[in-house]
Amino acid sequence: MEASFLIDMTKCIGCRGCQVACKQWNQNQADKTRISLKFTNPVKLNANTYTNIDFFESEKAGHVSWNFARNGCFHCKQPSCVSACPVAALIKTKEGPVIYRAERCIGCRYCMLSCPFNIPKFEWEKISPRIQKCTFCHERILDNKIPACAKTCPSGTIHFGDSIENNLKEAKRRLSDNPGKYFNHVYGEKEAGGTSVLLLSALPIDQLGFQKVGDAVIPDLTWEYISGIPAIIGVVLAAGIGSWIITRRNKNMHEEDKTNETGTE
């Protein structure tokens, strides 16, 4: 099965069941809670929190409306984090999840820099730190179970079980069947070349804390350089050897001239 989420945030009731289930399944430490205007704890993802539900208030036709945003790894089809990692600690599995192999990681944090969604987090306070992020419950998927968050979600916000293609069709159907209900955009369809997680929302997506991300397949941007390396090698070698031969011949000629003129040297 190809792992893919269709997350319809208009259905979310803000119970945070997914967030708790994720912590439990991954046995991640609890964070100290804080009061904040956003009624969200923790306010941001961190090394102990792979997913959270963020909260936004807005106004619609004179009424206050509540909007929830579910954060987490998008498991990009062509993930920049995977292309960035110098030691293949991050890999895209054939089932779809992008997973991390801690024993290879050198802690360079290039994956964090590279992710357009700022998903990978680092255990800054630990002496043996790991990169941490949503695993798409890869082990559960291999075991024919659905991810813990989707299993828990009582409102049908997090849908799991269809291919990316089918989820995209369903997302488009919801957009066209419910004019005015949604912000007319499937986040993840084109972002970063397409992701395994598709989001629907009522508000424009950047008002829910999501990044504006271009359509470029990010690994292609660096591959353009890397794949050009053989050509660079050729040019430098040709120029270097060529100039060595030419300048040597010139010098020898000069020396001959001098010898002829002065009879010394």
């Binding site: 941001k44 993802l45 961190n46 090394a47 920049s80 995977v82 292309s83 960035a84 990692c85 110098p86 030691v87 293949a88 290879r104 990681c105 050198i106 802690g107 360079c108 944090r109 290039y110 964090m112 820099l113 590279s114 357009p116 700022n118 987090k121 680092f122 255990e123 800054w124 306070e125 630990k126 002496i127 043996s128 730190p129 990044q211 504006k212 991300v213 271009g214 470029a216 990010i218 690994p219 941007l221 660096t222 591959w223 353009e224 350089y225 890397i226 390396i229 660079i232 090698i233 430098v236 070698l237 270097g240 050897i241 100039s243 060595w244 300048t247 040597r248 010139n250 010098k251």
Partner: protein, 377 residues
């Protein structure tokens, strides 16, 4: 072989200052290695800071003098620059050792620094960078080895290495071109994060061109300072030659940068008054435009003091360029995520520690090896 005879004093106020910074810095290095990244202000939405921006990117650019000189002397047969080859290659060697140390200290798992050498991932620019640091540091070691071998009276081995010098220099030039450009390529991966005054698909090429500029300035800077500090005779001809090379490199870079600006962020962005636009203007004025204008004045070009001033400006400007790409150009994206970055005292101390170690290493090498008075061969 006559021993390197020189009257360089081991203990001077400058050395003492360097030693103090090194000892204080060593304590902070120990702290980082035992406590980890918590000693820094690096955080989830700002994973790279001063060490990558200044010590790694700046340090590697400063080391470009090595390949610029090695290729001029050995590949282009500009033999008159041979006296500059040893100090230039030594500076580069020390620069690379320090950049590698900075990477080592920056890693979350310094003890796994060897992983990229065995766990290849050729789609990663970081992997390409790592391999080049390893290979080129080795090449610089080889290029510097004759000084050590003549000290150890291993004339035979020295001869073999000197025979192969053209090959070594060619390989070193190749690695440098790839490494300088790949550091620019590291940032190709952040199209949505790096400010568009700096982000462009030609980052690898701009890094390469500015490294040549930096390399010429560094060679000239190190040689002028050495002649002042260690009271060496000055061959003005060499410095004017370097200055002429600088004019070409800087003019080319200026044209490139203007082209990139007009085709990227647009001229207005450079004068928008934002923090980024100020940093961009600083980099361009200090490192490119003012040096070029100064060099075009014969009075400046033909005076040692004038050339020294230009060198300092270019070095400063290129370092600012690297820090703009790594730090200042990333700040507004971080601000969108509600994050600020300013290095901790620990980070600053480690940076200074690395710089001071480099200066001291250079001084010791100059004292004990035949670096500056090497002419023939």
């Amino acid at each position: 072989m006559k021993p390197a005879q020189n009257n360089i004093k081991l203990f001077t106020p400058v050395t003492l200052g360097l030693l103090i910074v090194i000892i204080a810095g060593a304590l902070v290095v120990f702290k980082k290695l035992t406590l980890g990244t918590v000693t820094t202000n690096l955080q989830d939405d700002f994973p790279w800071g001063l060490w990558i921006g200044f010590n790694v990117l700046g340090g590697v650019a400063m080391a470009a003098g090595g390949f610029v000189t090695a290729s001029a002397v050995y590949l282009f047969n500009m033999k008159k620059y041979k006296p500059l080859a040893r100090p230039a290659i030594l500076t580069a060697f020390i620069g690379y050792l320090l950049a590698a140390s900075a990477i080592f200290l920056d890693l979350g798992h310094p003890e796994r620094i060897w992983h990229p050498a065995v766990m290849w991932q050729v789609h990663s620019v970081m992997f390409i960078v790592a391999i080049h640091v390893i290979l080129y540091t080795t090449v610089l070691g080889l290029e510097s080895s004759p000084m050590l071998l003549e000290k150890l009276k291993l004339g035979g081995l020295k001869k073999i290495i000197e025979k192969g010098m053209v090959g070594i220099a060619l390989f070193g030039t190749l690695l440098s071109v790839l490494h300088q450009s790949s550091l620019g390529a590291v940032y190709l991966i952040v199209p949505d994060k790096l400010h568009n005054l700096w982000y462009s698909r030609t980052l690898p090429f701009s890094f390469l061109v500015s490294s040549v500029m930096m390399g010429l300035a560094m060679v000239s800077f190190v040689s002028i300072l050495s002649s002042k500090f260690f009271k060496r005779p000055v061959n003005m001809d060499l410095f004017s030659g370097l200055a002429r090379g600088s004019i070409i490199a800087i003019a080319f870079y200026l044209v490139l940068k203007i082209f990139l600006l007009l085709n990227g962020a647009g001229a207005a962005a450079a004068f928008a008054g934002s923090m980024e636009s100020k940093m961009y203007l600083l980099e361009m004025l200090a490192g490119v435009i003012i040096p070029l204008v100064l060099l075009l004045l014969p009075g400046v070009r033909n005076s040692l003091g004038g050339i020294l001033l230009v060198d300092i400006l270019v070095i400063f400007g290129v370092v600012i360029n690297r820090m703009n790409v790594a730090i200042f150009g990333m700040l507004s994206h971080a601000a969108e995520l509600g994050v600020k970055y300013f290095p901790t005292a620990n980070e600053i101390m480690v940076s200074l520690f690395l710089v001071a170690s480099g200066a001291l290493l250079f001084k010791l090498a100059v004292k004990y090896f035949n670096v500056l008075s090497y002419e023939e061969g």
